[in-house]
Amino acid sequence: MNTLRATTFLIAATFAAPLAAQQSGGRLDIVVQPEPPGLMMGLVQNGPTQLVAGDIYESLLRYNSDLEPQPSLAESWEISDDGLTYTFHLHDGVKWHDGEPFTADDVVFSADVFLRETHARLRASLAYVESITAPDDTTVVFQLKEPFGPFINAFEAGTMPIVPKHIYEGTDYATNEMNATPIGTGPFKFDEWVKGSYIHLVKNEDYYLEGKPYLDEVFYRVIPDAAARAVAFETGEVDVLPGGSVENWDVPRLTAMEGVCSTGAGWEFFAPLSWMWMNNREGPTSDVRFRQAVMYAMDRNFVKDVVWNGFGKVATGPVASSTNFYSDDVTQYDYNPDKAKELLAEMGYGGEAVRILPLPYGETWQRWAEAVRQNLSEVGINAEIDSTDVAGWNEKTSQWDYDLAFTYLYQYGDPALGVSRNYVASQISKGSPWNNVEGYENPELDEKWAAAAGMVNAEDRAAAYAEIQKEIVDDVPVAWLQELEFPTIYRCNVKDLVTTAIGVNDGPRDAWVEE
């Protein structure tokens, strides 16, 4: 294991000028899993697409591992004291990959026209925006209707990818032929996509940052079988296994190899938190005592140590501890089968069948569901696993056809962006698996969530969120499981790969290979 060294690098890369001179040249082979459905990031924002297209498209800002904004397409920016006006000053001389100049008009088109239509998650944040204007070619101003604390976190490449106006204006975005050969401003250009095999990106020679990128080319390799991906890394076919591309059980074996480093960093922006939705509407899960019993019945430390090989952290509530506004001043649900049995007896649970819906994302999640089923059956809950694929999972959760359903969601750096959507009543709507699927309704808390989002002062927000966490953890609307950690595994001669809060997604910009 070389985690320590990797971490040192990270710190060096983030806070100090790099000591060693970066070497130009070389290629990187990175696993992408599953194969992305498309690379036009304005249309598709799933994980694999962001991994690849994060080198092609950029947004105004990047974020370091403390979630502080860093320059990207925007060189500098100001926020007015009332929190209503965001002014961005763009880099000079930026060009699209087809040679056209990039201007503030592209930003206005992307945020105000294109993404409003295609990007559901951004649309929620844009609801706070009064106007987006471009006073000149290198300045963009976002004017808000009311203060929205997390707005500064909305300028990440996957959240607000800037797309070329000259290609998309006035066309049908979804069927535009240029979607197959994406044009961005990023450090790498799209070259070739052999479906089922690899995606090839080449260095953008006209990139606006002097000397960058260092790499000549990046290959994103599609290898459908987890075991084959591990073999590909072992035999030297690929250099980087982004988080989640091999099963957890393989991680210790691979990281023990010579010249192999790993890091858990690069997920701070997403801070994936897993839980089981418990159907609050009907069945035994509608009783808060049953939900508490589930929390006590689960040996979550066992899962962390065995299923996740020690990666991650048992969750205490809805907010991930690595993000802002986390509070640990909440009721702790330690493994306590006796207490679970007491609660079940108290509510008079009569052995109704409870269906567990695992997340269909591979063996780790399957084993996890099996462990939970075993834990639950040991306190007398009649649990069985519902088997399904990705489509079935989407259907069942979004149609509320489940009792317990595994999931994990990204937090996007702020509770107002990634947390509250799962607990407020206004987010109860059939058809989406990303909102308040459990059907939890608490009008009092709804008001508190809304108030916290609109506060300008960070300290006020922290206090408000602490209060919310304390209350909601007693209600157990969902069974919080674990803050997930997806270690990135790479060869140690690959330097500066993970330097931001979104890790490998925009890592190749600064990465270089030591000969």
């Binding site: 079988d225 987890a226 075991a227 591990a230 091999v246 099963e247 059980w249 393989d250 074996r253 066992f302 065995v306 299923v307 695992p358 269909p360 591979g362 063996e363 399957q366 084993r367 569901a369 099996e370 462990a371 089923r373 075993q374 069985e384 696993i385 519902d386 088997s387 399904t388 694929d389 079935g392």
Partner: protein
């Protein structure tokens, strides 16, 4: 007949192996103190490293030997039931086609060809995926993709039996045609069907394990395929997790094949082996 069968060494080995597997399957709850899902020890215990856990533990610390025994139940059950269902579809269809001929034959054979044209494993995947993996859906999917050879075999057999003298005799005696088919013709096709069925059970076990390998196993039923599917990602660090169920499949399929061949030699000493398609 039994004499001929019992003098076939291969077939007898097959019988012994199969009886052993069936025995383990039947008495699994008596032999093992814990269910295949119970987490009993630390994970990844190697075989023979701890008393009471002869085949080690899996990724969650569950008893591999117990999983193997309980898995035998599911694998055998799926193999048997799906073969029965396939026979229920294939035998009547093939018998009608072969006996009545003409448009009945034409229609039935087109239907059969149709199912043989769809890549069968692909169809099984789609069926199980859309009806969600449960023992029932897996069994039915396997049956649906494996009946066409039965229909072809039965049709060919019925066509040849139909022309024999005793059938003519029965017709002259005034028996109705359905009656002739049921009482005179079909009984004479039983032996090749039995041979084929024994091989089909083997194929069905393989199919079930292939489906499980692709993640289409019933998560509430421990089967050998499920074990291999769960273990394939740790094949480098824990070989025994996929090795033992793999061997169990090989042994069972081998046993069924040996028995099938023995039956074939004993029942149809002169019959071609064309039926194995």
């Amino acid at each position: 007949m039994w004499k001929r069968f019992s003098s076939n060494i291969g077939a007898m080995i097959g019988v012994v192996l199969l009886l052993a597997v069936i025995g383990i399957a039947l008495f699994a709850p008596l032999i093992f103190a814990h269910t295949p899902w119970q987490m009993v020890q630390r994970p990844f215990l190697t075989p023979f490293s701890m008393d009471g856990l002869p085949l080690g533990t899996d990724t969650l610390g569950r008893d591999v030997a117990s999983q193997l025994a309980y898995g035998a139940r599911v694998s055998l059950l799926v193999g048997l039931v799906s073969t029965l269902v396939a026979l229920l579809i294939g035998v009547p269809l093939g018998a009608l086609a072969g006996f009545y001929g003409n448009w009945v034959d034409e229609g039935a054979m087109r239907f059969t060809e149709f199912f043989q044209t769809i890549p069968n494993f692909a169809l099984a995947i789609v069926l199980v995926a859309i009806f969600e993996p449960t023992l029932a859906s897996i069994t039915i999917a396997i049956a649906i993709v494996s009946w066409p050879p039965v229909a072809r075999l039965v049709r060919a057999e019925v066509m040849s039996v139909r022309k024999r003298e005793f059938v003519d005799a029965a017709r002259l005696a005034g028996l109705s045609r359905p009656r002739i088919l049921l009482t005179q013709v079909l009984p004479n096709t039983v032996s090749p069907i039995i041979v084929m069925a024994s091989l089909m059970v083997a194929t069905a076990i393989l199919l079930e394990s292939s489906l499980s390998f692709l993640g289409l196993g019933d998560p509430n039923a421990m089967s050998w395929g499920y074990m291999i599917g769960a273990a394939r990602t740790v094949i480098r660090s824990a070989w025994w997790l996929s090795f033992f169920p793999g061997i169990a499949i090989v042994i069972t399929v081998l046993a069924l094949n040996l028995i099938g061949e023995g039956l074939n030699d004993a029942l149809n000493p002169h019959l071609s082996r064309r039926g194995k398609a």
